[in-house]
């Protein structure tokens, strides 16, 4: 018996003991009807070949290990960014349990959201009663300032009409007539979580700007000097939005962050559970129509929202997750142009420090090959930064990227001498990436937690940047936008590079002549 009270063995030690190893060997041999080990080995090797890659890329129907989630997740993420807002997802309840778990596992925070708990009878008769009861219960129990409704695929397939249902619910007294219940249809079989973010945000703005579903007059735009800011679906929203506010304040710009979930996803432990915290006030959400411009940090998170805003008469500017020197330059210059404010010296010094760091460490990154996967904008931003560093983003893969995204990446690659061997892969998944890593190896992989399976199988070291990150803690609290945020990305990459060199040189008496104390 290996277990002992003084030094309690965890699962990663306990089962390596001889009694467990023997037990597991016996289980396999006697009862599992295992495959011939030589055959397993043969297939394992075959799955690394160009031939396998070709079959793998010929897939038309099967998806294996996708790097995307479904629309309502993005809708919930956006909705909690408004003051006192309870996301309400109309449809099956299991979905909501999943979104809440998913967000909590990444942010290590509570995630509050309700479901209309539709079951078989609602599948037959529609979910109107679920909406009527659900809104009344949520309103009474959780005292929200606003309930933001979205849908699961069940409600979409049976064709429930949110606008009509909410209207009826109000007539039945579920919530007061003037209570804000914006909505968005967010079918899981269209787009991904970034689409859901877009739809939900547009739904909320439409509600406030266009007369609250026909119950109030549409807002007349009276232009002011404010700039609206949209972060998009972002695993680093906590750190990033705080950094963005700092930048706006340094520049003296009046701003409104739309869907500001940086507080509700980072509440203190002080004895009080805050179901709601911070967020864009409903007043600010409404008044955002008067702004001078709206800036989106993620084009593919705001494909519908930006044209909607632009139709209301003010300028919109979209970026693709700007990180690094030039992208941050462009972002700040856009801010400066729109606001008429100068970029303060403080930010210029931060820029200088980023350049300083890049110059200091250049030798370790230059020429290194990377694979990147993630949401479309994040991939673009990271690829652009790597090119600035003289690295090569050889494989850039986005399961929820489309043809337009691919074209944009191609243009990026074409514009850099380091981009000549780089390719973009829209609509592909992590099983495709596995083939890419075997047949065209790179030095490092950048992606979310699920990349650890690729790291295990291909030996490509994983640098965790993206969403979700379940197995490392608290990185979402640090920004990756702005010059300071870019510095954080640079350090993450450098740490991985240095650890890799150390790991490859630490065998005593064999490789440790290179186990240098200074790098």
């Amino acid at each position: 018996m290996a277990q002992n009270a003084e030094h309690v063995l965890d699962h990663f030690e306990l089962f390596r003991g001889p009694e467990y190893q023997q037990m597991l060997d016996n289980k396999k041999k006697m009862y599992e009807n295992p495959r011939d080990p030589a055959e397993v080995e043969r297939i394992r090797e075959w799955a690394k070949t160009p031939e396998y890659r070709e079959k793998n890329f010929a897939r038309e129907a099967l998806t294996v290990n996708p790097a995307k989630a479904c629309q309502p997740l993005g809708a919930v993420f956006a909705s909690v960014g408004f003051e006192g807002t309870l996301p309400f997802v109309h449809g099956s309840q299991g979905c909501v349990a999943y979104y809440r778990s998913h967000l909590s596992r990444h942010f290590k925070e509570p995630s509050s959201c309700v479901s209309s708990s539709m079951t078989e009878d609602a599948a037959v008769f529609g979910g109107l009663n679920n909406m009527i009861d659900g809104l009344a219960n949520s309103y009474n129990m959780y005292k929200p300032r606003m309930i933001a409704v979205s849908t699961t695929c069940m409600a979409e397939v049976i064709g429930d009409d949110l606008n009509a249902f909410i209207k009826t619910s109000k007539e039945k007294g579920s919530v007061p007539a003037e209570f804000d219940v914006p909505f968005a249809h967010t079918p899981a079989f269209v787009g991904s979580h970034v689409t859901g973010y877009d739809n939900a945000l547009k739904g909320i703005l439409e509600h406030f700007w266009d007369g609250k579903a026909g119950t109030t007059p549409k807002l007349e735009r009276t232009p002011n000097e404010k700039i609206n800011f949209i972060g998009g679906f972002d695993g680093y929203t906590v750190g990033n939005l705080r950094e963005i506010k700092r930048i706006f304040e340094l520049m003296g710009i009046q701003y409104t962050i739309l869907a500001d979930n940086s507080d509700v996803l980072d509440t203190p432990t002080d004895g009080e559970f805050r179901m709601y915290d911070g967020g864009t006030t409903l007043e600010d959400a409404a008044n955002a129509v008067h702004a001078k411009a709206t800036i989106s940090m993620q084009q593919w998170c705001t494909e519908k929202t930006l044209p909607f805003i632009s139709d209301h008469g003010h300028e919109v500017v979209a970026f693709n997750y700007p990180v690094g020197v030039s992208a941050t330059d462009e972002f700040l210059m856009a801010l400066s142009r729109i606001s008429g404010k100068d970029i303060p010296d403080k930010l210029a010094r931060e820029r200088g420090r980023l350049i300083d760091a890049m110059a200091d460490s250049n030798a370790h990154i230059h020429g290194k090959k990377f694979a990147i996967y993630g949401d479309p904008d994040l991939c673009y931003g990271l690829a652009a930064f790597l090119l600035e560093l003289g690295a090569e983003p050889i494989h850039v893969l986005s399961t929820n990227g489309n043809k337009a995204w691919e074209a944009k990446l191609r243009a990026l690659f074409a514009g850099s001498s380091f981009g000549q061997n780089c390719h973009a892969y829209p609509g592909r998944d992590l099983w495709h990436m596995r083939s890419l890593l075997f047949t065209e190896p790179v030095d490092f992989l950048i992606g979310n937690t699920y990349g650890k399976y690729l790291e295990r199988d291909t030996g490509t070291p994983l640098i965790r940047i993206g969403f979700p990150i379940f197995d490392r803690h608290h990185h979402h609290r640090y920004p990756v936008w702005g010059y300071q945020g870019s510095m954080n990305i640079l350090v993450k990459i450098l740490d991985a590079i240095f650890e890799d060199i150390d790991k490859k040189t630490n065998v005593a008496g064999k490789t440790d002549y290179s186990f240098d104390i200074i790098r």
Partner: protein, 500 residues
Amino acid sequence: MSLVTTGSVAEIKARNKQLIEEVLKVYPEKTAKRRAKHLNVHEDGKSDCGVKSNLKSIPGVMTIRGCAYAGSKGVVWGPIKDMIHISHGPVGCGQYSWGSRRNYYIGTTGIDTFVTLQFTSDFQEKDIVFGGDKKLAKVIDEIQELFPLNNGITIQSECPIGLIGDDIEAVSRVKSKEYGGKTFVPVRCEGFRGVSQSLGHHIANDAVRDWVFDKITPESKSKFESTPYDVAIIGDYNIGGDAWSSRILLEEMGLRVIAQWSGDGSLAELEATPKAKLNVLHCYRSMNYISRHMEEKFGIPWCEYNFFGPSKIAESLRKIAGYFDDRIKEGAERVIAKYQPLVDAVIAKYRPRLEGKTVMLFVGGLRPRHVIGAYEDLGMEVAGTGYEFGHNDDYQRTAQHYVKDGTLIYDDVTGYEFERFVEKMQPDLVGSGIKEKYVFQKMGVPFRQMHSWDYSGPYHGYDGFAIFARDMDMAINSPIWKKTKAPWKDVANPKLLAAE
């Protein structure tokens, strides 16, 4: 300091009843009426806990429950390691349940083992409009080409499948024939079916019956020779290695474990189970159906057991041994004696640190009752408990064998209720899931996830008990909980019932 156990039993009961009354005030009348049936204070001697269960969750209340798909793919089928489980429908369900349940297994992932891969048909709008059967057929062909060592394929239906009228059974039959009688299992576990995960368990059990047991051929019959000591572990999902730290005890007492359902399980083990002399059932809720079926069809008795904490482990080992001859009975005693020094050392170390501490639980499956003994072995007391998706037979077992007089019972608790209960009762520990974890930690209440073992485990068996005790101690006695209030701020008067 916990308020849970201050006062006499009568006072505790009165206080808990008052707490229920207070909580119900927040609801609209109709909802209050419905929720009142799910909340109760346990009375000693009653045959159940006096709550309604396995009823629809109420819209908008923030139920903690999941769905039938979660019960089938996430719980029952997902851990079968040599089969590929297709999340059939849109991408989300498979994505959110990908790898998060910690069903440990041995195998070469992606080659002959597939538990931590996410296979999905990733439905698009056209699949909804035109139906998904053709796509499913193609998905299967592509799996066969790229993952040739899979031993079978299950189709885990997501909501749209049942709504758009797809015939996944027909596709399965055709493909099984095409691939030489290969095992295909269509599972009708659409998320809108039933009221929780529970129906998904049942549907998944029935799918084993109809698409595995009923299709066993002479070729697929297992090759090993039977012995009088063959048992199958049913309803252990090997979370953090639970089934392994259980199996070792059964084998040490002289039994042969011929199958694990379903943690670290394989198709061959499912198919061999009808040869068992006894099915030992841990999670009654999720696998009683197939156990009853095997009893009726193959005459295999089944026996519930509980491998949490030394008292229940010893009781269970003796109970299981009771189905066998003296050799096994002696084996059980030998195992109990072998581990006694470990048990003594664990209790000597941790009990003084945990004595008198109180716990409130809200979990699924068997845990709202099964872990109570393990806490009691450490001198702790469970002051409140409830089931996410239990049925009345769960509450009967709870009432008859586990909870104390006056325990607060809450079925399908809502977020609001659970927060208020914990706020007022101030237990020393809450054991529930990821959605609850951070809520209670923000409130300054120590917490352990009791679904995933908070990424620790195993908790089953004697080896697991040491880890369980260590984990509860580190949660409750972490120095961090003393620091949640800034020293310069007045200590707020806790809103305690007793003080009101």
